[in-house]
């Protein structure tokens, strides 16, 4: 009667295959520019998965995800220049610290929902944007902020991934683990509690769910994923630019998560493709990358009006239709 925690759904199986292709094949065919673009896209896919899961599982809109990525990236860079610790240790500390930051952000926001919650998180993203623009990201300088002018100090990447190609593989593997963390949560008690909270907070309390705890937990998970994504992005470039973490980018990432399909892992991948790869593609073709914003706007209208499950949901629907038509089991 009870399904095992470790059962593999058709969607999960396709996720395994997709991650395998990205890990084994994709990096071998990309030049240095595209390796950088795809690495960045993978980082943003992880961050988008965090914000999408909060929206899909709890109905909470967080517009601070890219700002939280900046927090993770800042901490990772600071630790890198301050201590001789391995990349992974810095990444874990940065992710956990961002998770704590996510919790702190959640505290005033817990009594709010809908538009008001979105506004509070947007204000937080705005505050972070100002901090990043004022103090910049550490680059090997002295003092608390660790910023110096002129040449940057070298950044230590992971020992097992020194080349751009291997670093993309590394990022794909970490992203895959991040996706699994969320999926494990979805299948265990937190996932059930979140489903009840999404249904109705009163109903959740009536079944013994501590709504404050589980909402805070969700913010923490989203913060953790953003911290990992920011740390990985810092590792990709060796330095970060405050322009990457503007509050408007958080709004755009959330909007694209809705376009991609917030309920599905594929939605986060589509989000990252739209957010990072499409502008790079337009740039390569000699087209103004800002045209991507028009495509995003059209995509958002399409999602809001006709496809609440986004492009990912439409693809799954199409797959289910084809399986039904050809007499095989439908996708769930």
């Amino acid at each position: 009667m009870r399904r095992s925690l470790f059962h593999v759904t058709p969607s999960g199986a396709s996720g395994f295959v997709f991650a395998g292709v990205c890990f084994l094949i994709l990096p071998s065919f990309l030049g240095s520019y595209w390796l950088s673009v795809f690495t960045s896209a993978a980082c943003f896919a992880l961050a988008a998965f965090g914000v999408a899961f909060m929206y899909a599982r709890l109905g909470m809109v967080s517009l601070a995800q890219v700002g939280l990525m900046g927090v993770g990236g800042w901490i990772h860079l600071r630790l890198n220049y301050l201590f001789e610790w391995p990349f992974e240790v810095n990444l874990v500390i940065a992710a956990l610290a961002t998770m704590v930051f996510g919790w702190l952000l959640a505290l005033p926001a817990l009594r709010m929902r809908g538009l008001y919650l979105a506004l509070v998180t947007l204000m937080a993203a705005g505050g972070l944007e100002i901090l990043f623009a004022t103090y910049q990201f550490p680059n090997g300088g002295e003092g608390f902020w660790g910023v110096k002018t002129g040449s940057f100090s070298p950044f230590r990447g992971p020992v097992i991934a020194q080349s751009a190609e291997s670093y993309l593989r590394y990022v794909v593997a970490v992203c895959f683990l991040g996706f699994l963390i969320v999926e494990a949560h979805r299948r265990l008690a937190p996932g059930r509690a979140w489903a009840m909270i999404r249904r109705s907070e009163a109903a959740a309390m009536a079944v013994g769910v501590n709504v404050t705890l589980y909402k805070t937990w969700a913010f923490g998970i989203a913060g953790l994923l953003a911290g990992i994504a920011g740390g990985l992005l810092a590792g990709s470039l060796g330095l970060l630019d405050d322009g990457t973490f503007r509050s408007s980018e958080s709004v755009l990432l959330f909007a694209l998560a809705v376009v991609g399909g917030a309920r599905f892992w594929l939605g986060a991948v589509i989000t990252a493709v739209l957010y990072r790869i499409l502008p790079a593609l337009l740039n390569t073709w000699g087209v103004d990358p800002d045209i991507a914003y028009m495509i995003f706007g059209a995509g958002l209208l399409h999602a809001v009006i006709t496809a609440p499950d986004g492009i990912g949901g439409q693809l799954y629907g199409l797959a289910a239709l084809m399986r039904t038509k050809f007499g095989t089991r439908g996708v769930k």
Binding site: R2, R3, A189, R192, R199, A202, G208, V209, V211
Partner: protein, 239 residues
């Protein structure tokens, strides 16, 4: 034993419950009254969603008003809502299991208990179906099964027969009657369906405009002229 003492609830200038008291001692008891009588407000006070200005709710010696709503659920209070609260993206099994998730480290025991209660309401063969795929009656049965797990002490069902057919209401009534025997908990039912209440409840409280107008054995209460007048109104005879 459910002891409700002098519950007073105000919403601004409106007195929703005016010093309501009752002691429910039977296995299955009912609360009836016309729309706006304060039935659901009383249930919300007991489950912690509405604060009362004064009064107490003591069940098995525990004053529930000292506990937060989720703590009351963990203590053994169960309730269903007028609209059943089944999560569409969880299976039937998971929708019931969520009630036991606060019992950490008892995975196997929890699963066995869920299976037992799903079996008791005839939903075991639907355990792996998603909430979104269920009919209204199946959703209601899942809600009832959820209220039955975890050794509940008090189970409150708010209009459980709302929107059900006569046959379904009859079957649901049988399930509700069996709840005390299966779980050991006391059941409190709110419903407009007087026939259902008279079938399954041994004692009944009648509210009207936030006041208690009758309380006692269901048959006697339903025969009370004040209750009839509250439900049917009084005839106005012109001179």
């Amino acid at each position: 034993m459910i002891e409700i003492q002098s519950i007073l609830v105000r919403f601004g200038g409106v007195i929703a419950l005016n010093s309501v008291s009752a002691q429910f001692s039977k296995d299955v008891s009912g609360i009836i009254g016309p729309n706006g009588a304060g039935k659901t407000t009383l249930m919300n006070v007991i489950s912690g969603f509405v604060s009362c200005k004064s009064g107490s709710v003591v069940v098995d010696g525990q004053n529930l008003l000292n506990l937060s709503p989720h703590r009351r659920a963990q203590w053994g209070l169960r309730r269903s809502f007028q609209k059943e609260q089944i999560a569409d993206d969880l299976s039937v099994f998971e929708n019931v299991l969520v009630q036991l998730d606060f019992r950490m480290g008892q995975t196997r025991e929890n699963a066995l208990e869920v299976e037992k209660m799903l079996d008791a309401v005839g939903m075991s063969e639907h355990a792996n179906r998603l909430g979104a795929e269920l009919s209204g009656y199946e959703r209601r049965l899942t809600d009832v099964a959820r209220c039955m797990v975890g050794s509940p002490r008090l189970i409150m069902l708010d209009e459980p027969a709302g929107g059900l057919s006569v046959d379904e209401t009859h079957q649901l009534g049988n399930h509700i009657t069996n709840i005390p025997q299966i779980t050991g908990g006391q059941v409190l039912v709110i419903d407009h369906d007087v026939e259902l209440i008279s079938d399954i409840c041994k004692e009944t409280l009648v509210l009207d405009f936030g006041k208690r107008i009758a309380f006692g054995k269901t048959a006697e209460v339903l025969a009370d002229p004040k209750v009839k007048s509250a439900y049917l109104g009084t005839e106005e005879v012109s001179a």
